[in-house]
């Protein structure tokens, strides 16, 4: 029942498996090669990394902004080093154009499949109202069973171009080269199957595509720099977001996530051959907000596990907030020899208010118990603690742990808490810190 409904949805999903079970099954591999490994869609503005992997501009920018590593090989890389992969983009565009026609062709029984490209071509010819030698060749091939050679020629033309240019020329039935009616009779007598280079219909759209590319590169918007968020106080960050023209509401961590996403969207658009308008980009950000931004806030406040995996996981605040449960676990571990099954740090454990003392004294909980639970001890943030970072962490930490306990947060309450947090963090950073 469930599977049936899913199957119905999936009928509409285009992917490389469409080619399986057709005579063109090898194209499945071709199509997978033209799809991004991250989003599994056809490459959009493909970019090549320093380690020579290719991803959509937006996909690789998102990845690099999360952990600075190539998703293909985990080699460290930077957004600045990304370069456009134009030839691949052309290949993708060409394949996308050819795809539906090819697939239709591949899915039809063989005999019917042969006739469809010809019907199209015949229509065009009749419009031309032309009784030249070319029409006779085509219409005779429609009826003769032995005309398989010519049918193959028609098919390959279908793959290259869907249309016949209305240029007053006629195509040679052998080599497909286009020339005037006057010249064709003489040409057919000596045709060797290779079309004359100048009249190749394929050369035209290709040349124009490259031309438009180079002409558009000049009017590109500036790329946005990444911010090191720990250097920004709440209000400054909000100001920054407003300057960029995007929403400045929400808790601190959401602001950072939103800015990160906006930089990725914006810079990916800068890479694009056909940049979209700022309005369209904002709509994309709205989508992100609906599907991930708001959901992220909700899920993060409920799921301790996912938080631990976050790169910007705030180990300091976490360890101070869960100080009691850690101590409890340590005590338990000392009481009895470790067994295999351990309860994870519980989310409903009493959240003690983040006091200044707790922060200075907080130590990374390192017990066998803790490691055996499958969680990594949040030690890294602690070791590199500077006064500046500590204040930033405190702000984030306060919001993180105060929010859920106060029920649904309104914009007002968040803003208030922001102020309180800043005052507290100023106090914290003013004090001399012990290592």
């Amino acid at each position: 029942m469930a599977s049936k409904a899913n199957r119905d949805n999936l009928q509409e999903v285009e992917d490389s498996t469409d080619w399986l079970n057709t005579p063109l099954a090898p194209l499945a591999a071709v199509e997978s090669a033209l799809r991004c490994q991250v989003c599994t869609e056809f490459y959009t503005t493909p970019m090549i990394t320093s380690c020579s992997h290719t991803f959509c501009s937006l996909c690789i920018r998102r990845c690099l902004s999360i952990d600075g590593k190539c998703p293909g090989c985990r080699a460290p890389d930077q957004e600045l080093k990304l370069r456009s992969n134009w030839p691949l983009e052309e290949a993708v565009d060409a394949f996308k154009k050819a795809r539906s026609g090819l697939l239709e062709h591949a899915r039809k029984p063989v005999i019917i499949g042969r006739s469809s490209p010809k019907r199209k071509l015949d229509c065009v010819q009749e419009n031309e109202a032309d009784d030249g030698p070319r029409k006779r060749t085509r219409s005779s091939s429609k009826r003769t069973a032995t005309a398989s050679q010519q049918t193959v020629v028609v098919d390959s033309e279908q793959e290259d171009e869907d249309y016949i240019p209305n240029d007053g020329l006629v195509a040679c039935p052998i080599c497909n080269g286009r020339m005037t009616e006057m010249a064709i009779d003489r040409h057919i007598d000596q045709c060797n199957g290779i079309p004359p280079a100048t009249s190749d219909s394929r050369s035209k759209p290709r040349a124009s595509a490259t031309f438009s590319t180079s002409s558009k590169t000049f009017s590109k918007p500036e790329r946005l720099p990444h911010l090191s968020y720990s250097m920004f106080k709440d209000n400054n960050l909000r100001k920054k977001l407003s300057e960029l023209g995007i929403s400045a509401n929400g808790p601190r961590q959401l602001l950072e996530k939103r800015h990160l996403e906006w930089v990725s969207i914006w810079n990916a658009n800068c890479d694009s051959k056909n940049p979209r308008t700022k309005f369209e980009l904002k709509q994309e950000l709205d989508k992100w907000e609906r599907t991930q931004g708001s959901a992220w806030v909700a899920s993060n406040s409920h799921k301790p596990g996912s938080q631990l995996l976050d790169k910007e996981f705030d180990g300091l605040a976490w360890s101070s907030a869960h100080d009691d449960s850690f101590k409890e676990l340590i005590a338990k571990a000392r009481r009895k020899p470790p067994t295999g099954s351990i309860a994870p740090p519980e989310s409903q454990s009493p959240r003690n208010a983040v006091s200044d003392d707790a922060i200075v004294e907080a130590t990374p909980p390192r017990t066998t118990d803790y490691q055996m639970g499958g969680y990594s001890a949040p030690t890294t943030t602690l070791s590199s603690t500077s006064a500046e970072q500590l204040s930033g962490d405190l702000v984030a930490g306060l919001k993180n742990h105060d929010l859920p306990s106060r029920g649904p947060a309104t914009a007002d309450s968040i803003a208030n808490m922001g102020d309180v947090a800043i005052r507290k963090s100023n106090m914290a950073s003013a004090r001399p810190l012990q290592p």
Partner: protein, 182 residues
């Protein structure tokens, strides 16, 4: 089984938020829903050309964020002939974050604890967006035959693996039992 955790991400099929309801529409998912789109493509791949010995399918037609999966124990390992059920829980920023993967079938293994949690680097800090369900399942399958005994969740199993393979196998069979689908 306990699905409390998943409720934070997904409501019942009847009360889908607009963003999730959209993917039920007969037309293809609107652009921007990269997570849904990606999971749909992965499902297609798994249905049409799954690697031998692994399978995965969404629990609910209207919600692609929770999947059930199975892996067959590889031959020439203590797990040969056994089948293991797992659940995948996809965060809403998948594939930029790893799915949460749990063994539902009780398993005796150095890197899996008794509640089914798995210690595998690619599900934690080594995750990259280029991994997918199939690569995770294949990694887990190879983890069965090649446990990482240096960082065990189940210390006893890690010791027995080298010391006493026969006893290990006995423990594996003793712990294994089939679980029903909910």
């Amino acid at each position: 089984m306990n699905y409390n955790m998943e409720d934070t991400q997904n409501s019942a099929p009847g009360s889908l938020p607009p963003s999730q309801a959209a993917k039920l529409a007969p037309r293809r998912a609107p652009e921007g829903q990269s997570t849904t789109k990606r999971l749909q493509t992965e499902l297609m791949q798994l249905m049409c050309s799954a690697a031998p010995g692994v399978s995965a399918f969404p629990v609910d037609a209207g919600d692609l964020s929770i999947w059930n999966a199975t892996i067959d124990g590889p031959d020439d390992t203590p797990y040969a002939g056994l089948t293991f059920k797992l659940t995948f829980n996809f965060p809403n920023n998948y594939p930029y974050a790893a799915p949460t993967v749990l063994f539902k079938t009780p398993i005796y293994h150095p890197n899996v604890d008794f509640s089914g949690r798995i210690c595998l680097d690619i599900l934690k800090d080594k995750w990259t967006a280029a991994y997918n369900i199939q690569t995770v399942l294949l990694s887990l399958q190879s983890l069965l035959g090649e446990p990482n005994n240096a960082s065990p969740l189940n210390g006893e199993a890690a010791e027995l693996w080298d010391k006493d393979p026969e006893e290990f196998k006995k423990k594996v069979l003793g712990r294994h039992r089939d679980v029903d689908d909910e």
